[in-house]
Amino acid sequence: MSTISFIHAYLGLPLLAFFASLLLKKRQESALSILSYSTAGLQLVLVLIYGYFWLRDGSNPTQFKELSVYSSDNYEFFIDFLVDKLTLVFAFLGASLSFLITIYSRYYLHREEGYKRFFNTILFFNLGYTLIIFSGNMETLFIGWEILGVSSFLLIAFYRERMLPVKNALKVFSVYRIGDIGIILAMWLLHHLWHANVTFMEMNANVNMNHHLSNATGIGLLIAFLFYISAAAKSAQLPFSSWLPRAMEGPTPSSAIFYGSMSVHIGAFLMLRTMHFWDQQEVFKYFLIAAGLLTALIASAISRVQSSIKSQIAYASIAQIGLIFVEIAFGWENLALTHILGNAFLRTYQLLISPSIVSHKIREQQYQPEELQGAKTKSTFWSRFQMRIYLLNLKEWNLDLLLYRTIWNPLKRIGRGWKILNFQYVFWVMAIVLIIGVVLRLNEAQLSAQLLHQLPFFFAFWGFLIAVKAFTERDSVRKSLTLIMFNHISISLALSFNEHFDNTHHVWYLSGIVLSWAIGYFLLTRMRRTEWISLDNFYGHIYEYPKTGFVFLLVCLGLSGFPITPSFVGEDLIFSHIHLSQVGLAFFTAFSLVINGLATMRIYTRVFLGPHIKTYHQIAKRSS
């Protein structure tokens, strides 16, 4: 089996199965589940056969360029694949667990309302996971990364008629978006370092890299830290750990497979994939060891006070992943890989059997009288220490609060300052600023060099403020939606001052955005005729508008530059026009993209998900 046909088959399976699963009907349970488990089953067979030949033939990594999506003189966006030991281990992990869990879910989810949705999302997730582990460059990885984020969101919010799953889905999604900043900025820096979109093979080849880094060690270190942010967010390392237990909102098998195994180890995958890029950076390695150990200690302490079985398993898993990060920092790749496999299998199984704990422990207690005294222990230094940090552990070391205070609250404060502006007003201000922007752009020759130098930053910052405003809007949905589009226009405008480049880049970038906005605006306007919609609450309109809700989800994905419209390539293109020296510009651009993504998902969540605002049918309590 050639590597190319192996990858095509391995990747094509979930891709085809995903689209096929969309076409099936809701009640076709059997077809949906067979499609899913045979996909994973065939993947497992493929990886075993290929793995056998790969081992026999010398275990060499293979990399090849799949297709070029867009290319110009100095820029090329291409899909690239890489198969090596790391890929195959993760492929084995993913395929074997997906196979087992989809069979498990076939029965477990029988007659569940979202049966179809569940298997659609699992296949979509499989596609994202496969893309990540087979990716040969950052761009390909990022596509998978985004798919993983969205499918995680959908799986956590699987019980979309209740508030907590929906809130937590948004929370996890926001942590993932923070992680995305790392990838976006790392991609940008790498692009400038190599003056091209680089592959992992090139990046990891030491000789090559030393050449590129020789003049820019600071940048190398920065890139390494950016990788860590992304990896830590996905693998629930400090300071992001508190999302993992909150992701356990879907059906138990989906929590088991995604948050017990596949999804949560992807951060470790990223660190392993980029290992040779940073393993010369001593400072970073010490940091990684410290961060891993600290995560391991804190997470394991938190896990000890959990009175719910799933959060106990989640924190225990985070602690082991902390140790895995330490192993990676030491360069013990094989040890880390076995650790990943073992941890993934163990936690998946523990989560699956978690309901059994009641009968098992109750029985155990019936027969173990000494356990009864558990509450009263002798006062020792250790027991007093446990007592002193008990509350801290119970409050999860305030990690949730920390994210809230450092990131979301400041954003809200900025957004609230803008509250005085009403919709029309903002619109006209925006229109005027945009017209001024275009006029300036056309008459660039008359502008002073200093002003020209300032304008990109001004418009990027303007765009950032608009994104924040869109994110913190509490009232009008259409206003928020329109602001999101304005943000993209601002960014586009900002960069057009930065560098003179082909206008088609703007077309790539804005085409998907504007189209998505137009459809979204139309859908909301149509809904407003009969329904009350606003952003101050969860409205749960999906109960009556499932189709509109689905289309609106696509709109949101399009608006946030998800790889379903050309805007995804456009985003990357636009970034290539930010100079290495323009850190502020890059930061604000990346940050507004991230906030944009959050603002769009927030709109979808508030309007369509959560407890239905109309109470003529069974509605879950907000606290449930």
Binding site: Y107, H110, R111, E112, E113, F158, Y159, L164, N168, R246, M248, E249, P251, S255, A296, L297, S300, R304, V305, Q306, S307, S308, K310, Y315, A319, T338, H339, G342, N343, F345, L346, T348, L352, S356, I357, S359, K361, I362, Q365, Q366, Y367, Q368, P369, L372, A375, K376, R384, M387, R388, L391, N393, K395, D536, T615, H617, Q618, I619, K621, S623, S624
Partner: protein, 825 residues
């Protein structure tokens, strides 16, 4: 009402209206809306919906759809409507569009934090509050226990606050309030509401925002011994802590400057279930519900009326089963395969009111109905059995170092176990098996030697007590003569895997345990020669060769376990052997009948293969419906078996044996109905309410459930405890009230129910419907408006079939009442 009285009233309301569900290990069915039982059924439902926003009926569309499909008959609807059948009302019922929106009263005051201040208080307070309560009550999940020092909940929190490295609160004020020992709940409420007129409404709103945890705290407060590890707590302490957390959250969000509710001059409410609006929709739904129920009831009564009379003959063997609706079909299969086998039904604790303590256990479990306070203890004596723990639940897997070693090693073993669990499910350490309740070869201390436990329980029963147990049971079921050589005492239990609600699958009359101990104890008593002598004096003559044989029926696996077979006299050994082989066939037929409801089981297979697949459900980790329990229960027939024998009732009926001719005063009947009302009525209404509002009165789907402190289940990690039944248990259930049909003269029935006020309430307020069948007149009387009224059956005939199993093949929906033809012997 001053503030103290207001709080007292709140406590009173909470005590009645919060869910009264015990910890998971003691799951017992009860009427979810028991607090409304002092109102007539339809008024109670209306009050509950208006006060709490529960959906208490199915939606209008549900009834209309059934009307179109003929499952609600037009003539019955007309009868329910009475004189109004010709009016516009009927057209409104069928066609008019209604707004079914409910806006509950409870919750309306506190929602103003969000409306007036734009602040979602609950989302800030609930997670930490739930976490504290759940960690405190935790019965064995967490590795570091909540540090308690002999005190109660609040004192433990105070110690944590004082000694811990971090504070529970963000601001100083709440901390100072907590540490101030003289502070009362009233003071905190003053800070929050600013005026004592809000006290009642505020506290009710607050507690009913998380009925799961509040209910659990109340259960533990009222019944501390329900927990193996004691945790003193009270609902007042919970409210105190919650108010503190609220003050702290408000302080933080608004920098200590916020308006109390009083500042907004809000309207408040007084909790009163008698003050109701005149919302028309409830009247409509009540009519639909009645028509829906009577369409079904009429079918049943027609069946009882038209079926061919059955004559009792001589029996080779008899079986005494539990009243449980799951035994209804098994009894039918046994009778059809073995016409000279007589079956009886009675609550499955078999009159044994006792605690049971297994060998080596430190805990006792109650094996009789939950309200009973037993004074007897039955001890198990057996050869010691080793029970090994499952490593996957051990604390070691969560540690750092051991966790590291275990993931590298045991982790791979997990993968293998997972694969085995999926491809080859088999009985395993984690499964709950009905036979684990008691060791098969053990000896039970049924006979008392006068020993007492230190806490005052008598170990075993004296001869007189045993005689009383046996005679009153036999009398109540009318089995006082013509004993067959073998009388099987058939208790039941259930096996399941990965099932948090396992206790709800066992015998309800045995407090959610399998009834094996009861069956053995009863058989021991009835086989005891001295007891038999005494019984003879009482007029119950059990022949010397008659042997009572205890059996346990696993309702999930459809298997029998036999006990004490070594005591069967030689003369009956052959008969036991042949009975066992036909039991096997009957169980197989029963499994096949049950399998029609499990759509994932293919219908084309052989009976044995189907039975095998049914068995697998009990050991499959991935099976959320090991069995369907009491789903579709709707009937309780109290009468001789001949009264209902040969009728196919689709596993809907609780069957209690009763011979009217032996009970002219209705004394046995009184005892039977005193048990039927709370046990069968409780099961029925819990199913009803979990079905019509699975989100608020049921537990929702069980698939995302997370076990909290071994006490209950919640969704995710921040959710409130979920009470009631998960959707997987009730989805095929038809929301009918229980119809009790008694074969006895109406006057006797009427007298029997009125002797016990709480039983009378069930029937008189129509939370259970009651019909008497006058055996002499052969006529039905229905209890309505304080008395019996004659009822004329509408259905004109009764369909008949020969082979029920082949008629059912491939048919998963409800099946009408029919007569089985080939049965009468």
């Amino acid at each position: 009402m001053n503030e103290k009285q207001a709080i007292a009233h709140v406590l009173h309301v909470l005590e009645h209206y919060l869910p009264s569900q015990a910890p998971l290990k003691d799951f017992i069915h009860h009427n979810t809306l028991h607090a409304f039982q002092d109102l007539p059924f339809h008024q109670g439902l209306k009050a509950a919906q208006e006060l709490f926003g529960y959906q208490t009926y199915a939606p209008l569309s549900f009834y209309r759809e059934r009307y179109r499909e003929g499952q609600i008959s037009e003539s019955i609807l007309d009868r329910v409507l009475g004189q109004e059948a010709q009016s516009g009302l009927k057209n409104d019922l069928i066609n008019r569009t209604f707004d079914e929106t409910t806006i509950p009263i409870v919750g309306s005051l506190r929602s103003n934090w969000k409306v007036q201040l734009g602040f979602d208080l609950d989302t800030r307070v609930h997670p930490i509050l739930f976490r504290l309560v759940s960690s405190y009550l935790d019965q064995g999940i967490s590795i570091w226990k909540f540090p308690i020092d002999g005190g109660d909940f609040l004192s433990a929190i105070r110690v944590l606050e004082q000694e811990g490295f971090s504070s529970l609160f963000n601001g100083k004020r709440a901390r100072q309030l907590l540490l101030n020992p003289t502070l009362t709940l009233q003071d905190l409420l003053q800070i929050l509401t600013g005026n004592q007129i809000y006290t009642e409404a505020y506290l009710l709103d607050q507690q009913f925002a998380h009925p799961g945890y509040s209910g659990m705290v109340l259960q533990v407060e009222k019944n501390p011994q329900a927990l193996i590890q004691p945790r003193p707590i009270s609902i007042e302490q919970l409210m105190f802590l919650e108010c503190l957390l609220e003050i702290d959250a408000l302080d933080r969000h608004f920098n200590q400057r916020w308006n109390t509710l009083h500042d907004f001059e809000l309207a408040t409410y007084t909790f009163d279930k008698h003050q109701l609006t005149s919302n028309q929709i409830f009247g409509f739904k009540a009519i639909w519900q009645e028509a829906y129920e009577w369409t079904f009831y009429d079918q049943v009564l027609a069946g009882l009326q038209y079926k061919a009379p059955f004559c009792d003959g001589q029996y080779q063997a008899q079986g005494i089963f539990c009243i449980d609706d799951r035994e209804c079909s098994l009894r039918r299969h046994i009778e059809s395969l073995h016409p000279s086998f007589a079956t009886f039904g009675t609550p499955g604790h078999f009159n044994i009111e006792a605690y049971f303590q297994p060998e080596g256990a430190s805990q006792r479990t109650k094996i009789c109905p939950a309200p009973v306070k037993p004074t007897h203890l039955i001890l198990e004596k057996s050869i010691g059995t080793k029970r090994n723990a499952e490593l996957h639940f051990s604390a070691q897997t969560y540690g750092l170092v051991f966790g590291w070693i275990l993931t590298h090693t045991y982790g791979f073993w997990s993968a293998l176990k997972l694969a085995l669990a999926i491809f080859k499910p088999a009985m395993n350490k984690m499964a709950v098996a009905s036979t684990h309740h008691m060791h098969k070869a053990s000896h039970l201390s049924v006979w008392s030697e006068g020993q007492m436990t230190p806490d005052g329980l008598q170990i075993g029963f004296t001869i007189d007590e045993m005689t009383k147990v046996v005679s009153s049971l036999l009398k109540s079921i009318g089995l006082t003569s013509d004993f067959a050589p073998l009388v099987y005492m058939i208790a039941h239990g259930s096996s399941s895997s990965n099932n948090t609600h396992y206790a709800g699958y066992d015998c309800g009359a045995c407090s959610g345990r399998p009834g094996s101990v009861n069956a053995r104890a009863f058989a021991y008593m009835a086989n005891h020669p001295t007891v038999r002598q005494q019984l003879r004096i009482l007029g119950i003559d059990i022949a010397a060769h008659t042997q009572f044989v205890p059996v346990l029926h696993d309702t999930c696996r459809d298997e029998f376990s036999f006990y004490d077979l070594d005591q069967v006299p030689v003369s009956s050994i052959d008969q036991v052997a042949s009975d066992r082989s036909f039991f096997k066939k009957a169980l197989e037929a029963n499994a096949v009948e049950r399998s029609r409801r499990f759509i994932t089981i293919g219908a084309q297979k052989s009976k044995a293969a189907l039975h095998q697949q049914v068995k697998l459900r009990s050991v499959s980790l991935f099976e959320p419906r090991p069995e369907l329990n009491h789903a579709n229960n709707a009937l309780c027939i109290v009468g001789r078996r001949s009264f209902s024998r040969d009728l196919f009732l689709d596993r809907r009926a609780f069957l209690n044996s009763y011979d009217f001719s032996q009970d002219p005063e209705g004394l046995s009947l009184e005892g039977i109905l005193n048990a039927v009302a709370p046990v069968c009525g409780g099961i029925n209404l819990e199913y009803y309410f979990s079905r019509v509002d699975n989100q608020q009165l049921g537990a929702g789907t069980k698939l995302p459930h997370n076990v909290m402190g071994l006490l209950g289940v919640a969704n995710g990690i921040d959710g409130d405890l979920r009470t009631g039944l998960p959707s997987q248990m009730i989805e095929v259930h038809d929301p009918y009230r229980l119809l009790v049909v008694v074969e006895q003269v109406p006057q006797v029935v009427s007298a029997a129910i009125q002797r016990n006020p709480s039983t009378f309430e069930w029937f008189n307020h129509e939370w259970i419907r009651l019909v008497a069948f006058d055996p002499a007149e052969k006529a039905f009387y229905v209890w309505q408006n304080d008395g019996f009224l004659p009822y004329e059956v509408q259905q004109s005939g009764l369909p008949k079939v020969n082979d029920i199993l082949s008629s059912l093949a491939g048919y998963s929906a409800n099946f009408p009442v029919i007569e089985l033809q080939n049965q009468a012997s």
